[in-house]
Every structure is written in structure tokens, then in C-alpha cells.
């Protein structure tokens, strides 16, 4: 079940909210858990028992870590990490490794390994990271384990961020899981609705429209495309991905507020970044934070030599890329960004400081767009062909036509993405959009959000509705 589906928006979600709102405070966690388990079981009925088993193991290990010291403490943590990484590796990456090993075997004339492809549990990349944050935060003494297993299950399973983040670490949510009475207010709920409806509109009205064009470009043979097609397709995808992902994060944060949780922000106008370093402080912020807390700093961060720092950065970005998907183009995408981070730290940042900000933004945007081609392409080979075509600037006439709707939506996407380039506007927007406001503005925000909701539902439901005038045999 996805957030942008009729069954979620008009059946599951209103019913769930109604039950949640009428449930007494001390039982709300159980209602939220029941709803979340139902949500997961709808989408992945075969995996729920397996995931439950891993949760049980981690919960038990969390207690063990908390109540032991010294070497045993480390062992329990190691076991937890191995279970989680092993789980992720098996379900997400085993197919990739076996496929590549077999290609090597075939190349050398050896018999390939016999293997049945493993299916991927929904949300695995997100909940494994959250599980790891639980045991690591306990190990670090940052928070005690949760007393109730159901609260722990809720932390992992809460449907708002289970499928697509934001990645919520244990120390951020620990207190709210136990007591969030102060956040169960009407103002919070209203802000939650506004955030959810706005996120839905970003995804449905902007991302989906741009995605149609991007798909038509990326699904076409490169030979049939002009440079203009590929550039426009890449730009369309750039904004599709942002509005889709940021929209989903908005919906997750909105649901969190409705339930009394404060989830961290995940995007902060990433396309106004003036360097790749800054980009990663504005894009998928929770992933960056997780990588920093649980990988970069344990590796040594920037505490050791410059070479070691750069190696650590590279490793982090390589793993970030691989985390996104089990394919070579994701790995190369990670390497692409890691390389520019290292280059900026080495010397490029100093050069960037000397040029006007508009050129810094243009440079960053160009690197990001080219990176997204790697990310989106159906294979690494296709990505290379696409980038070659882009940089050749051969035929600049569009072979795939665009319509007025695409152009209008793209203009809106660009406007909303770059409007915060002025610090003044950025602060005003963030204040108006994110923070609780006076009632009159709240009312206006709610009215706009409800309108967004109605139009979004109209677009969701009509997406597949394209009748013939008359039935034809």
C-alpha cells in the first residue's frame, strides 16, 4: 500500500486516524502498532514473520547490551550488527553478487552458480538502519532500551516512515515512544494534515507529471533520442526525484505529527546548494546524519590523516550509493558524489569561494543532474550512453514531444526548488511552512492543503482512466 493510492488515502488512513484519535492515550501505541502491522502485512504478507523474528532478536540483544559491560557488551553489539547487515545483505544484495560472480565464471568458462533469486522485503533498507541505530545508541549509553517490546515494534514498524523514510534513529524518537502527551494537540494535528496534504500534492501533481516524461526518455533507445531529449529527460528526472522523495518525506512527517511524533526534516531546498558538500547537508538529510553517526565517525571521521579522511568519505559514499540499490550504476553514483566531495575538500572548495554564487549553484546542479542520470538509467551502460549524448550537444531538436502540462509543471518545480536561493525568502518560507503559525494563517494553509488533497485524489484516481468513446471489438 502506498500513500498515494486511493485505498490508503480514503480507507486505511481515515479509519486508522479515527481509531487512533478515539483510543485513550495509554493505549495509543497499540493502535498505532496494529495499524502499522496491518499496513505492512497488506504489502508484504510473506515477510512479516521474518521481520518480526529479526525485531525480536534485536530487542533481546538491546537488553543484553544495556545490562552487560566490557567484552560481552561488544559481542552482543557485533551480533546485532551482523544479524542486521546479514539480513540486508541476503535479501537485497545476494542476487547482485551471485549475478556478478556468475558473469566472471562464465567469462572464464566455469560453471555458473545455481541460484534462485531472492525477493526483497519492503522497506528493508530503512528499517535495518533503524534497528542498528537502536542497539548502537544503547551501546553508546545514549538511551536505555524500551521496556515494552510493542514500543520497540512500533519504533521500527510505524508505517509513516517504514517504506521511504525519513530514517528515524532511536535517540530521536525514544522519548516520544514512551510519552508524547504534549504533542497530542489539535495544533499539532492540523500541522500534520497540512504537511501530509502538501507532500501528497508534491508527489502526485508535480513528481508524477515530470516522471511520465522522464520515463519516456529513459525507456527509449538512446539512438532515437537527441541531446535535447536527454537533457530535458535528465532535468525532468532531477525534479521528479526531488518532489517525489521530498513529498513522501512530507507525508511521513505529517503522519508523525498526527500521531504525536516529531520526525526530523529530510530535505532543505537541496538544489540551491553551492557545492556537493552543501548538497549532502540538504538532500536526504537523515541518511547523511545516519552515515555520519554510525559509519563515518566510527571509521575515524576527520580525526586522522587527510588521506584517511578522504578514504572514510569515499567509503561512506560508496556504501550510500550501494544502499540505494543493488546495481553498478548506484555504486558509480556513490563514487561520483564521493569523488566530488573529496575534490572539494582537497582544493576545489577554495576555487568555488572565489566565483559568484550563481555559478556555484550552476556547477553543483550540473554535477547533481549528471549523477541522477547514473542513478536513473536502467544500467550502467545506458547511463554512459546517455551522458555521452548529453555532452555531445548534437541534435538540439526534441524528438519526444512535450505538452503544455509538462512545461507548466516543470516551471513550477523549478520555481519552488530555487525560490529559496535568497536567504530572506528561505527563512520566510520555512517559517510559514514548517513552524506553527497564527490561526488565520493556519486556516489559510489548511484550506490550500485541502484543495491540494482533493486535486491529488482526482489525479490519483484518474491516472488509469482513459476510456474509449465506444466499445470496439
Amino acid at each position: 500500500m502506498v500513500f498515494s493510492s486511493s485505498i490508503f488515502l480514503l480507507f486505511f488512513f481515515p479509519l486508522f486516524l479515527l481509531l487512533y484519535f478515539i483510543t485513550p492515550v495509554k493505549y495509543k501505541n497499540y493502535t498505532a502498532l496494529a495499524g502499522s502491522v496491518a499496513f505492512y502485512a497488506w504489502g508484504a504478507p510473506t515477510f512479516i514473520f521474518l521481520v518480526f523474528g529479526v525485531l525480536l532478536a534485536d530487542y533481546f540483544l538491546g537488553f543484553k547490551i544495556y545490562h552487560t559491560n566490557g567484552f560481552a557488551k561488544k559481542i552482543y553489539l557485533l551480533i546485532s550488527i551482523c544479524i542486521n547487515v546479514g539480513f540486508l545483505f541476503y535479501f537485497k544484495y545476494s542476487n547482485f553478487f551471485v549475478e556478478n560472480i556468475n558473469q566472471v565464471f562464465i567469462h572464464f568458462g566455469a560453471k555458473p552458480l545455481q541460484w534462485i533469486n531472492v525477493a526483497l522485503p519492503i522497506g528493508i533498507s530503512f528499517f535495518v538502519f533503524q534497528e542498528m541505530s537502536y542497539t548502537i545508541d544503547i551501546y553508546r549509553g545514549e538511551h536505555a532500551p524500551l521496556k515494552k517490546f510493542t514500543d520497540y515494534m512500533l519504533f521500527i514498524f510505524l508505517f509513516s516512515h517504514l517504506i521511504a523514510g525519513p530514517i528515524v534513529t532511536y535517540h530521536v524518537l525514544a522519548d516520544d515512544l514512551v510519552d508524547r502527551k504534549k504533542k497530542l494537540t489539535n495544533d499539532y494535528r492540523l500541522e500534520g494534515f497540512i504537511r501530509f496534504f502538501t507532500g501528497l500534492a508534491r508527489k502526485v501533481l508535480i513528481a508524477n507529471t515530470l516522471g511520465e516524461y522522464a520515463d519516456s526518455v529513459f525507456n527509449s533507445p538512446v539512438l532515437q533520442l537527441s541531446s535535447a531529449d536527454v537533457w530535458l529527460g535528465a532535468i525532468a528526472y532531477t525534479f521528479q526525484l526531488y518532489f517525489d522523495f521530498a513529498g513522501y518525506s512530507d507525508m511521513a512527517i505529517g503522519i508523525g505529527k498526527l500521531l504525536g511524533f516529531d520526525f526530523p526534516e529530510n530535505f532543505n531546498f537541496p538544489y540551491i546548494s553551492q557545492s556537493i558538500t552543501e548538497f549532502w547537508q540538504r538532500w536526504h538529510i537523515t541518511l547523511g546524519s545516519w552515515m555520519k553517526r554510525y559509519l563515518y565517525i566510527p571509521l575515524g571521521g576527520n580525526k586522522f590523516s587527510t588521506t584517511r579522511t578522504f578514504l572514510n568519505l569515499w567509503i561512506v559514499f560508496l556504501i550510500s550509493g550501494f544502499w540505494h540499490g543493488a546495481a553498478w550504476n548506484f555504486i558509480f553514483w556513490g563514487i561520483w558524489h564521493g569523488s566530488f566531495i573529496v575534490l572539494e575538500k582537497l582544493f576545489f572548495q577554495k576555487i568555488l569561494q572565489r566565483i559568484p554564487s550563481v555559478f556555484r549553484i550552476a556547477y553543483t546542479f550540473l554535477i547533481v543532474v549528471l549523477g541522477w542520470v547514473l542513478f536513473r538509467a536502467n544500467s550502467f551502460q545506458q547511463a554512459v550512453l546517455f551522458i555521452k549524448k548529453m555532452l555531445s550537444f548534437s541534435i538540439m531538436q526534441l524528438q519526444i514531444p512535450v505538452n503544455a502540462k509538462f512545461v507548466a509543471v516543470l516551471m513550477i518545480a523549478i520555481s519552488f526548488s530555487f525560490v529559496a536561493v535568497s536567504n530572506l525568502i528561505q527563512n520566510k518560507l520555512l517559517t510559514w511552512y514548517l513552524l506553527p503559525t497564527r490561526k488565520i494563517w493556519l486556516g489559510m494553509k489548511l484550506a490550500i492543503a485541502v484543495l491540494f488533497f482533493l486535486i491529488s485524489v482526482a489525479y490519483i484516481t484518474s491516472n488509469q482512466f482513459n476510456p474509449f468513446i465506444y466499445f470496439r471489438f
Binding site: 485505498i7 480507507f11 504489502g43 505538452n403 486535486i455 484518474s462 476510456p467 465506444y470
Partner: protein
């Protein structure tokens, strides 16, 4: 957010149905196997997407926004021409001659079909029956100035319409060319024979065409049977019946006004004529417009049939038309009941006038290539 669920469960408010032909989804039956392989969830999702409360109104909202803001019609194959004239793309391709791959194949295929039609015409005449090919008009022929320019850039001189005329003339096949008739009368007739917002001829155009068809029957059979007269006519800018079928299938919130259209109202003369023809019409949706005038019900005998795309059998009995199963065997025997066989198609189906009926019947009647 709860309102659609309440509407879905209790239907307190009646929602207008959507127009057009589209797939309908049923609520699936639950079993554990379908749950675990996700087929139940998928089927439920489809059912809910298409049946939740106020769904039709949401579809109209979406369609209205896309139509008003971006000129996007959400109907398969419908395009918006100049000045908001609606066309079905297939008709434009027929007009431009871009709906066939090779001219040689087109000629060969058309010749084969019309050789068979000629064979049927001659064979049926020996049995005292008449066969006639009726070329219904195509909207792009009538409004060529409203076609978007990028279609016209690819226009060829050879079209299926031309090939049909060539074959009919060369083989002396009986035909009525309403396409040419419409074009010739466009500037002289008082009201449009084609509407801006419809795919088919107007009710007025269909009435005049039907009258001409009956006149042909009377001439060929030397018997009069037309027994209706016009009681009154009215004009309106709000389309009726199928005159705005393309626009109605857009399923928007607001109805567009069209140009002034004329509607004739008929009464049956008394006493009824002694003889009425029993007619078999094998046709596409153009014949529905003729049926909507009610004239066939007044003029044709009981037992007259309309074989829609040679797949559905709509039979006339006591001024009522009902759907019956179609029998594709023993056509030779079935034909015995009819006085006239009409093969009728409009602009996008010119290449298949008579559909497979022509092949099936000619084979049964011993056609040899």
C-alpha cells in the same frame, strides 16, 4: 477524508455515471493463497480505485482541470483540433492516408473484400435481395480546416476511401457515398450535418441520410414504405443524443456549448404501410446515431437486425430493439429473412466495411477467388 468511505458504504448521494467504454472491476474473493501471493491486494486495489465514493466526481474534476488548463482530453484516441473541434485520431489518419503501411497491400486487401461484396451482391440479387455499401462520412473530410497542422503535413493522396470508390466503380458495386454527399451540401444546408463535439454525424445528418437510404430502397424495390412525417423541429446549442459523444466521453464537470444543431421530430403516418423491408445492417457505431433518430423503428419491419461490428445482434421487434446472441454459422439461411443487406461504416473503419461478415457469408455461398 471519511466522506468517500461513507458514500462507498451507504451511497447516500447519487453520483452521475461516467461516459465511454472502460473496464469494470469486481471485488475479489478472499482466500489465504491470494493474500500471500498479493493477487488479492492487487485486485482489491483496482476495485477500490474504480469504485470508491465520489470517484466519478473526482474523475470529472481531474478531466476538467486537464481540459481547461492544458487542452488534454482523457479519452482514448480523441484529439482537440482547431477551435476546440474534437476528432478521433483514426478518422484523421484515414483522411490523411496515414493509416496503412503499404499502398499495394491496401489495394490488394480492398480488392479482395470488394470482389467478395460484388459476388454477394450478385448472388443475393438472384435470391431477390439487395445489398448496398453505405460509406458514412468522416468528420475530417467535413472539417479539414479544423485538423491540427502537424497531421496535414504527412497527408498522402492515396486513402482507403479513394480505394473503396475505385473498387466500387470498377466492379459496379452498389454504394451510397454519404461522405461526398455531406461535403457537397456543407455550404448549402441549413444546419450542421456534423457537430463540433461529436465523432459521428449529427442526429440531423443521420436523419437526412436515413431518408436517402430509404429512398434508395424504394427506388430499387419499386415499393414505397416510408411512413413518417416531420411534426416539428427545434434548434439548440446544447447537444443531444450522440451529437456530443466525443465531448461527453471527456467526462468533464461543465458542458461546452456547441454550434446550433437541428433536431427533427417525426410521427408515423396512419394507417401503416402494407409492406416494410426487413433489413440486416452490418455496421459500426455510425448506425447507432441512425437508430437514435427512431426512424428505423418506424420504417423497418420486425425482425430487422443490426449486427454491431458483427459481434452483437440488436433486433427490432414492435419498435423496441433488444440485444440477442449473434450466430456466425448458417449465415446463408439467416440471410433468407432479409430484403436488404446494408454494409455501413464510418471514417475510421472504411477498410473493414462489412467486417468479417463479408468473408464468412461469401465463403458459405461458394465464393472462389
Amino acid at each position: 477524508m471519511l466522506l468517500p468511505m461513507i458514500q462507498f458504504a451507504f451511497h447516500p448521494i447519487k453520483s452521475k455515471e461516467l461516459k465511454g467504454s472502460f473496464e469494470k472491476f469486481e471485488m475479489p474473493k478472499f482466500n489465504w493463497h491470494s493474500w500471500f501471493d498479493n493477487s488479492f491486494q492487487e485486485a482489491t486495489n483496482n476495485y477500490v480505485e474504480n469504485n470508491f465514493g465520489f470517484r466519478n466526481d473526482f474523475v470529472r474534476l481531474h478531466n476538467q482541470l486537464d481540459f481547461s488548463l492544458f487542452n488534454i482530453p482523457h479519452v482514448k484516441d480523441v484529439i482537440i483540433g482547431k477551435d476546440f473541434y474534437l476528432f478521433e485520431e483514426g478518422y484523421i489518419k484515414e483522411y490523411c492516408g496515414t493509416n496503412y503501411e503499404s499502398l499495394d497491400t491496401l489495394k490488394k486487401y480492398t480488392l479482395d473484400r470488394y470482389n467478395r461484396i460484388k459476388f454477394l451482391q450478385d448472388t443475393l440479387r438472384k435470391l431477390g435481395k439487395q445489398l448496398v455499401v453505405v460509406i458514412a462520412p468522416g468528420k475530417p473530410f467535413y472539417f479539414p480546416d479544423k485538423i491540427p497542422d502537424h497531421y496535414l503535413k504527412e497527408r498522402k493522396s492515396a486513402t482507403q476511401y479513394n480505394e473503396i470508390l475505385n473498387c466500387c466503380n470498377a466492379l459496379s458495386v452498389n454504394y451510397i457515398d454519404f461522405n461526398n454527399w455531406f461535403i457537397n451540401r456543407k455550404n448549402t444546408i441549413d444546419f450542421p450535418l456534423y457537430s463540433k463535439l461529436g465523432v459521428h454525424w449529427t442526429d440531423y445528418g443521420a436523419s437526412l441520410s436515413f431518408d436517402s437510404l430509404c429512398s434508395y430502397f424504394e427506388k430499387v424495390n419499386h415499393k414505397t414504405f416510408r411512413n413518417y412525417y416531420v411534426t416539428y423541429c427545434d434548434t439548440t446549442t446544447t447537444f443531444r443524443k450522440t451529437d456530443g459523444d466525443a465531448f461527453e466521453s471527456l467526462n468533464t464537470i461543465w458542458k461546452l456549448k456547441c454550434e446550433k444543431l437541428k433536431y427533427l421530430h417525426y410521427e408515423k403516418k396512419e394507417p401503416d404501410t402494407a409492406w416494410k423491408p426487413q433489413v440486416l445492417t452490418v455496421a459500426d457505431s455510425y448506425y447507432w446515431t441512425m437508430l437514435a433518430t427512431d426512424l428505423p423503428k418506424k420504417c423497418f419491419a420486425n425482425g430487422s437486425e443490426f449486427w454491431y461490428y458483427y459481434n452483437e445482434n440488436w433486433r427490432l421487434n414492435n419498435y423496441v430493439i433488444s440485444n440477442n446472441p449473434i450466430e456466425k454459422q448458417n449465415l446463408k439461411e439467416q440471410i433468407q429473412h432479409f430484403d436488404f443487406v446494408v454494409l455501413l461504416c464510418g471514417g475510421t473503419n472504411y477498410q473493414s466495411i462489412g467486417m468479417d461478415f463479408v468473408f464468412d457469408l461469401s465463403n458459405e455461398m461458394g465464393y472462389k477467388k
